[in-house]
Subunit: 219 residues, 4 copies
DNA sequence: GATGAATGAGCCTTCATTCAT
DNA sequence: GATGAATGAAGGCTCATTCAT
């Protein structure tokens, strides 16, 4: 079970409860933790509050998690892939810009629903383990994007004078930070605009026109 | 004096000490606060610790700052411009890529020396005043970059199909996040690579060649 | 239960404990508070001391009372009627002087056992709520005594030239302040002497003689 | 000098300043202490506040008083006689009731102007020295009143069946507590009503009539 | 397992008092 | 003498964690 796996990463104790009731309690605690961490910040949320919000006793909290940090870790590791922006897949679609914009829109949709990205900044600077978890995820994403770019380069589709690793990092940074760009609040055009910029930094104009026109003779 | 001015922003009490001794003590507290905030995080640093680190008694801390948040505010507002990445100035130099790379290098140099950027993420999500201070600074920077881009566009130097506001935001986001791109750790090539990508997202290749070749017949 | 009722007056939180253990702990804290307030004064007693005296940890204090003022309020409101001197009941007994003296003796007996009257003077001048609680109790007592006097007057038993409201206030003031009169310390004759004076200020001598001689043809 | 005398009682240090400037500073501190003690209570007033209110430095406070308690002591001992209610002088005037009422009115006038009676209750229960100072003053007043009563008794003017010491205490208690009787707020009739009651508890009606009619053939 | 009362270290802050200038 | 910055003990209160029921 997925849930069990992710807990293996964190530690053996307290064990994942087998009983259905217990499982639900654990889920309730996770959900309460998520809500309260988002609302009040990690440090300003107490274990007691989480327990109360989940309708269990304070002591019960400690049966399922050794402390609130472990609860957060469980939340995050459970959902790690949700935190990472999408890997653009340029070459098997008609219009890479539109496709990327859609990927971004749905990514931020999921992220917003989870909300935990609001909690991370508080923890990351002083939690080496968490930092490493994310650095690792980003490295994997980077590698994946980089390979996609190299593939495109091999096909002669990219700029020749750009460092592809840097391009991959730029893609990650741009896609991670779209909410910080407050262009035309309300309109969701951010996504398409940023997608255009990203594509422009990858493909020369002529390639882009070809890609848009639907020549899908690759990959 | 510059320092006095910026303190005016924060509040009248406790007043900026007139005496030299007192001034030094205040500086020592600021410096100790800076160091400890960076080292252990804002929430996990206590006023007592800051005082001890500055070799003064706990009570002395409260003579100079009403609480540790005010100390941090003083630190930040003092140095606000250091936090913001540079505004690229493309049009009056030989090679916009090199120039931008140099600007970035020196920006991160200063930022790293200060170190406070490591503390902000902890505060921003739950400190509306601080959030506003930075949002404001970013808006100003955005406006400035955007105007530079518009100027270039009026001269026919930019891509035609990109939204300049988005481009400006992308520049901000990219320049703010270079440390998160761990390309070839140790080498400072990040800066030039990112500078290249930024320039590419602003100027078509032919313009870029002209700019690099030093035709400075504009602005 | 009486104790629960009076606590309703004070506030819902922290709730009156349901468990027997908890109830006893709350009582222990109340009792410790009472003793220490009397011994050292309200301001000079700390929550920590009260907790220690009750053999519980500091934090436990705050489970039962939000602060020491609330503890004192609980003590006082619980025992409000003990603070007030008795309402003399002249007309249904043989000798009003003796009866009043007995009432006074038992009033002070109870008051002394409680001891809290020593704490009030410290609080009253700067605690409007407490002031009002007592002002109210005194107004009620005054009304009751005044009505008793008016009844006596209607029967033609009182002086004609005295303002009955003032007489009622004088009775309250005299009965409240007997301990400040150090007549023959040790002997409890204060009570009878003051009772005599009070009766004299209410009844003309001839009426008094009648009342003492046991004519109980009234009320 | 009166001021020196009262300080002798308190202690030798800090000495009463000889310089005029210093004398004024001391007075300013006394006055500031008086005002702040009345306003915020003794315990809740800090030495620093008193100094600030008197426009002197914190340290200066300690040159004139060893602590705030000593300042209060100085205030009180300076004005001790103002705190005590008047000794009624029945026998050399036309109407003892009116005269007493006037004495009371002017007593409370002075007391209210001083205001310190609002501070005493906070201190008395836990300051043995202060308690003794007042107990002593009350004993003296009691003795004086008692002697006046005995004189009247010797002349055959008083009730025969009342204990004169108790009567004297009752007079003190009544005259001390008039403000607690809220008869007809606004009207100052309290004084005359209470004066009547007091006179009634001292003199039988026939004596009273004689005294009012102005037979001043005694004393 | 579940409960929630109990614990007590530790944080923030105040203030009486001292002392270098 | 005067100043006011500095001190640090102490109080009020919170909360992560334990443990008896």
């Amino acid at each position: 079970m997925n849930d069990q796996e992710s807990n293996q990463l964190i530690g053996q104790f307290p064990s994942v409860p087998k009983q259905e009731r217990a499982y639900q309690k654990r889920q309730a605690l996770l959900e309460s933790g998520r809500i309260l961490f988002i609302e009040k910040g990690f440090d300003h949320t107490t274990a007691k509050e989480i327990a109360a919000h989940a309708n269990v006793a304070t002591g019960t909290f400690y049966r399922y998690f050794c402390d609130k940090r472990q609860l957060l870790m469980a939340l995050i590791k459970d959902q790690l892939e949700r935190f990472m922006p999408p890997r653009p897949s340029w070459l098997n679609h008609n219009d890479p810009e539109t496709v990327l914009a859609e990927q971004l829109a749905s990514h931020y949709d999921r992220l917003e629903k989870l909300g935990l990205h609001r909690v991370l900044p508080e923890l990351l600077p002083h939690d080496p383990e968490l930092t490493e978890v994310f650095a690792d995820a980003r490295r994997k994403l980077h590698k994946s994007i980089y390979e996609g770019l190299k593939h495109a380069k091999d096909l002669g589709f990219t700029w020749n004078d750009l460092d592809l690793k840097s391009v991959a990092w730029s893609i990650i940074v741009l896609t991670e930070n779209i909410p910080k760009m407050d262009i035309d609040k309300g309109a969701n055009s951010n996504y398409i605009f940023v997608a255009k910029i990203i594509c422009r930094s990858v493909f020369p104009p002529d390639v882009l026109i070809k890609l848009k026109s639907g020549e899908k003779s690759f990959e």
